[in-house]
Symmetry: C2
Subunit: 226 residues, 2 copies
């Protein structure tokens, strides 16, 4: 046995904490999606055994909660908004941007009540921007309605973005698998309105689609706040 194949010493790893664990998990998810996050892989990134993590985390779901709240930190407004509308609009666009950076966010958004400190701070920012504009119930409805639109729109956008990426990697697989299926369906004549839309509809840019829908919803909110 020479020095070369002598095993390295256990490499006494840096002491762990939640932040480092969450950061590793986020990095993993950014690279390979949520399903690439396994406790074993997270631990491996930190030169630790899998069970080590259970000193800081009770369950994998809790790790997901922490990841989500971590990203809510990126969504916090840097400065207070001028008015309620800009607050809601800003929140929406920041959330969308974060979801484009961390596509796995679409899988988590709205999936469970989020009570982390950053999520609370984000909600607080919206609520305070609406404070006094209307009664409490209306304010709450406004926030919830906008959030619902947000969540849904982002989810759909990420979903089709993924479909594109997947088919980009193996385009003709998709063409052969689903393309003809859908085309055949449309050709049956059972879906005339849909066929017309696919045939004549213009491809819409996702960002303006999102923004347009958002403004519609904001208009609706404005009408109710008045």
């Amino acid at each position: 046995m020479t020095v070369w194949d002598r095993p390295e010493p256990p490499a006494r790893p840096v002491p762990l904490d939640r932040e480092r664990i969450v950061a590793a998990a986020v990095a993993l998810a950014d690279e390979g999606g949520l399903e690439a996050v396994s406790l074993r892989k997270v631990a491996a990134r930190l030169d630790a055994g899998p069970m080590r993590l259970y000193g800081y985390i009770a369950t994998k779901e809790e790790l997901f909660d922490l990841m989500l709240d971590e990203v809510y930190g990126e969504i916090l407004p840097e400065e207070p908004a001028r008015d309620w509308r800009e607050a809601l609009r800003g929140h929406a666009h920041r959330t969308r941007q974060a979801s484009l950076r961390h596509q796995w966010l679409a899988d988590l958004l709205g999936g469970r009540p989020t009570l982390g400190p950053n999520a609370l701070a984000v909600t607080e920012a919206m609520l305070s921007a609406l404070d006094g504009v209307a009664d409490l119930d209306t304010v709450m409805r406004a926030v919830e309605t906008v959030s619902a639109y947000l969540t849904g729109a982002i989810r759909r956008e990420i979903a089709s973005l993924r479909a594109e990426q997947a088919t980009g990697l193996s385009e003709r697989d998709w063409q052969r698998a689903h393309g003809p299926h859908v085309s055949r369906m449309l050709a049956t004549g059972r879906f005339p309105a849909l066929a017309k839309l696919v045939h004549d509809g213009t491809e819409l840019d996702p960002e303006t689609t999102f923004a347009t829908g958002l403004e519609w919803v904001l208009d609706a909110v404005a009408a109710k706040l008045a």
Copy 2:
């Protein structure tokens, strides 16, 4: 060896087809959520080995797609709507009802582009109700905006419903685990608007919350279609 412990003959199972497989999977998911759906358990319900399913299904994800489209069958309108507004409203409420019956639907809705026959038919119904009301782009935006609200609102409602159910089973676990955490957060004074809402806000009935937000969005759509 007596007749009693003689193993039963292989029980030659009924021949499989996609419908039976999907039905078994849906039943499983209704009982225990999406995570209770494993190919082994689905196969067991049909007196088959796990690999038997691969003759009818390429992958587990495909099974989920089929389950989703199966439920879209419950969402199809029974008769054509009188006008576009009723079409969209009806679609929304039917989707919500289906999600209450099959809570796992919340995990799938909007998660991937849905191209099954029932989903296409549902979309067709909405589009045809809007046909001629405005130009194609606007119609598409209307459908997408309402769908986005739908998806998000249902997701949130099911999420909090699950939280309630989970805490119902072990109430003081939740009280001890998260209750004080949130209370402490609010007590820090860093979230005044949030605290006021929690303190003074009235508990809103989910159904009317959903309906109210929906009407807001429909109002917005109406304003743009005009």
